[in-house]
């Protein structure tokens, strides 16, 4: 499935982050998002996931628009952020069963899909151990295994290889590759080298540089305010 981003802009409070973000990710392509810390990679991914309302612009997944058909758009997107969304008191199997259930996976398929996701992410050995007693990398894999349950065509991944050992990096790269081979698309925010073929790379600095100044009602048209020295009685 194709993801098209059109002229997207975001502000955080009074501060502009980026503007004029436009690119297309074709099916089968894993695009990489690069840029220094604080350049808005996470903000862009969250906006594309539909978590925050962009200040301007739109994103279109296949034919569903983020601004107009938000629900339909979101049904095509899976997002994995910095945090794993795994409760310390729940085991990986329970966590996956819950998320599968919450995201309306058909009951009949739930068990099967959970087991398949556990196997693919090599989690079966500790699938029944509370996540609080797992390593950071194991929790990370549990969080990422959610992607396989949802069966959504476009993956937005924020630093997915963080905390993963070499083995797990390879496994995740294989999983992303098979997702691409099946016609999916992915956008990865990355710092380090990518274990995947970098089909397309977008640099956040291109988008922050062209960002026009924010329209701030407390900033505009105010030139005379501090010149006003009318005495307050």
């Amino acid at each position: 499935m194709r993801l098209e981003v059109k002229d997207l802009a975001a502000f955080r409070g009074d501060r502009r982050i980026f503007a004029g973000v436009s690119f297309v990710i074709e099916p089968g392509v894993a695009a990489t998002l690069r840029g220094p810390n604080g350049s808005g990679k996470t903000t862009l991914l969250r906006a594309l996931a539909g978590l925050s309302r962009p200040a301007a612009g739109d994103a279109v997944a296949a034919d569903a628009s983020l601004q107009q058909e938000r629900d339909l758009y979101q049904e095509r997107i899976a997002y994995a952020g910095h945090a794993d969304a795994v409760k310390p008191a729940m085991t990986p199997r329970e966590a996956l069963r819950f998320w599968g259930d919450y995201f309306d996976t058909p009951r009949a398929e739930l068990d099967e899909r959970v087991e398949a996701a556990l196997t693919q992410f090599e989690l079966t050995d500790f699938a029944d151990r509370p996540a609080g007693r797992l390593s950071a990398g194991q929790r990370r894999r549990t969080g990422l295994a959610r992607l396989l349950l949802l069966e959504r065509p476009i993956w937005l991944l924020d630093e997915p290889f963080n905390a993963l050992d070499a083995n797990a990096v390879d496994a995740l790269a294989r999983i992303i590759q098979s997702h691409l081979n099946a016609g999916g698309a992915a956008l990865l925010a990355l710092h380090g080298p990518s274990p995947l073929r970098e089909d397309a790379t977008f640099n956040m600095t291109d988008f922050t540089a062209v960002a026009p100044p924010a329209s701030d009602p407390f900033l505009d048209g105010f030139d005379d305010v501090f010149a006003q020295t009318e005495p307050l009685p």
């Binding site: 978590l51 997002y79 952020g81 945090a83 409760k87 310390p88 008191a89 969080g143």
Partner: protein, 218 residues
């Protein structure tokens, strides 16, 4: 929505700070009120309903600050917001789970506590009924407070200051109903008003809380 309700219930039963601890807190508060007044049976019977109501409200209050905060910190709230169900429904499930682990056990144990305070049987029955119809409103309005203070570091105290005034109509009506029953008057109008507050909160609170969550998650 059932999934989220069951998950919260399971987490509450499994973790410290869950339902068991909340119920113990409920008993401790009521007992401390009992210790701190003169052990005169007539006085105790008068204080009893109030003690049970305060204990219920406090038991609901102390577990509120984790209602959304825990999910916010570990990224679950983002995923909940991205799920197919509207955020309002998620708020409702979480408030229902909160009620099931605080308000419901308190309601079930209220007759026992009322007996310890030697509250007359009629008043005990009315008080329990009042909690049954009124306690859900505590979890619902509390969810709004929890959603509003989500982004605040150490927001527990702020949450209490915001939520306690919203609890007051429910607490006042609960006390009115119990006193009416003790005086052998008809408590039904107070009970109906309590139910009205709960139904009103059911209709409005999920929207207010979801609006606050959206502002905070954004």
């Amino acid at each position: 929505m059932r999934a989220l309700f069951l998950r919260d219930l399971r987490l509450a039963l499994r973790l410290g700070g869950g339902a068991g601890l909340s119920l113990s807190f409920f008993f401790i508060v009521a007992a401390v009120i009992g210790f701190s007044v003169e052990p005169d049976p007539k006085l105790l019977a008068q204080v009893g309903p109030g003690a049970v109501l305060i204990a219920t409200a406090l038991a609901a209050l102390i577990s509120l600050d984790r209602l959304f905060q825990a999910d916010f910190e570990d990224g679950s709230l983002e995923q909940i917001a991205l799920g197919p169900a509207p955020l309002e429904a998620a708020v409702l499930s979480k408030a229902a789970a909160h009620w099931a682990t605080t308000g419901l056990p308190a309601t079930l144990c209220a007759p026992l506590l009322a007996q310890m305070f030697q509250v007359p049987d009629a008043a005990t029955l009315t008080l329990t009924l009042a909690l049954a119809v009124g306690a859900p409103a505590l979890s619902l309005t509390g969810a709004v407070g929890a959603a509003l203070t989500l982004g605040v570091r150490r927001g527990g105290l702020l949450l209490s200051v915001i939520v306690a005034p919203m609890f007051s109509p429910t607490l006042i009506l609960g006390a009115v109903a119990a006193r009416a029953a003790a005086l052998q008057l008809d408590p039904s109008s107070a009970l109906l008003l309590l139910a009205a507050i709960t139904i009103g909160a059911l209709a409005i609170a999920p929207f207010a809380a979801a609006a606050a969550l959206r502002i905070n998650v954004n």
